[in-house]
């Protein structure tokens, strides 16, 4: 198997075989990432394809900075593709804040989280409303700052923090309910 650097070099040169290898290596990871944002398998597949095509077309903008930098670049590019699509579909319009959510829900234990299958956790995140899901994913999993999020989806930094708090509460609720239901 090729190293990341070699793979990137060949993809930059437009090598079809290397592009196939790139797809085999990263498609299922990027598919899960897209699903985390759009909560629909067909849309996630479409977006993953768009992101892969965009990556293959814009490899010249990638610079290798060490192991893992290729996936980091692909992830960033995919998140941008997803955010653009969500914006086009006007799915990032703010909804009125939900006042029915209980503010003080206990924090789940780390072990509790470890006991939840990853796919179930992914579905819990997918079940969040569009804006909350987007902010939670960007901030907590993909490492964007509130400043980046605010610029990407057209809200204020304070708004981003407030939406994140709501997403956290809703997710904690879903985790606690799941643990209660499964008796863990």
């Amino acid at each position: 198997m090729r190293t990341e650097q070699e793979l990137a070099r060949l993809c930059t040169a437009g090598d079809r075989e290397a592009q196939g290898e790139l797809y085999s290596l990263y498609a299922s990871r990027l598919y899960a990432l897209c699903y985390r944002y759009v909560a629909d398998r067909d849309d996630a597949q479409d977006l993953m394809h768009d992101a892969m095509i965009k990556a293959m077309d814009s490899f010249k903008s990638f610079s290798f900075t060490g192991e893992g930098s290729l996936y980091a670049w692909l992830r960033r590019l995919t998140v941008n593709v997803v955010i653009d699509r969500l914006r086009q579909l006007s799915k990032l319009r703010l909804v009125p804040l939900d006042s029915t959510i209980e503010p003080n829900i206990s924090e789940p234990e780390e072990d509790d989280v470890d006991n939840i299958p990853a796919q179930v956790m992914l579905d819990m995140i997918a079940a969040l409303p569009d804006v909350r899901r987007t902010v939670f994913n960007m901030y907590c999993i993909d490492g964007f700052s509130h400043k980046d999020i605010a610029a990407a989806i057209g809200i204020t930094e304070k708004g981003s923090a407030s939406i994140l708090a709501k997403a956290r509460t809703q997710l904690k609720n879903a985790i606690n309910e799941y643990l209660k239901r499964t008796g863990r």
């Binding site: 797809y23 498609a27 299922s28 990871r29 598919y31 899960a32 699903y35 985390r36 398998r41 597949q45 394809h49 892969m52 095509i53 293959m56 996936y71 924090e107 789940p108 234990e109 780390e110 509790d112 989280v113 470890d114 990853a118 796919q119 956790m121 992914l122 995140i125 907590c140 999993i141 993909d142 956290r168 904690k172 985790i175």
Partner: protein, 70 residues
């Protein structure tokens, strides 16, 4: 970030989901369609620039010949 969120991040960052059957065919079809579209667009652009440019050159030649014949 809180600890339970760190765990979620650890579990989901890089998590792989099984791709639908025939995903690769769907991808290759889509890529081929994009490439065809891009080629056609490039051809149309070349024609859109090339034809007026050729006409302009011809007009300039005719005008030059006309000026010489006077």
């Amino acid at each position: 970030m809180k600890q339970w969120e760190d765990r979620i991040k650890d579990r989901l960052d890089g998590y792989e989901m099984k791709l639908p059957a025939s995903d690769r065919d769907a991808f290759l079809n889509r890529k081929a369609t994009r490439e065809r579209y891009a080629r056609r667009r490039k051809n149309i652009l070349s024609l859109a620039v090339g034809i007026p440019a050729a006409l302009a050159i011809l007009c300039a030649i005719f005008f030059f010949v006309y000026l010489l014949s006077k």
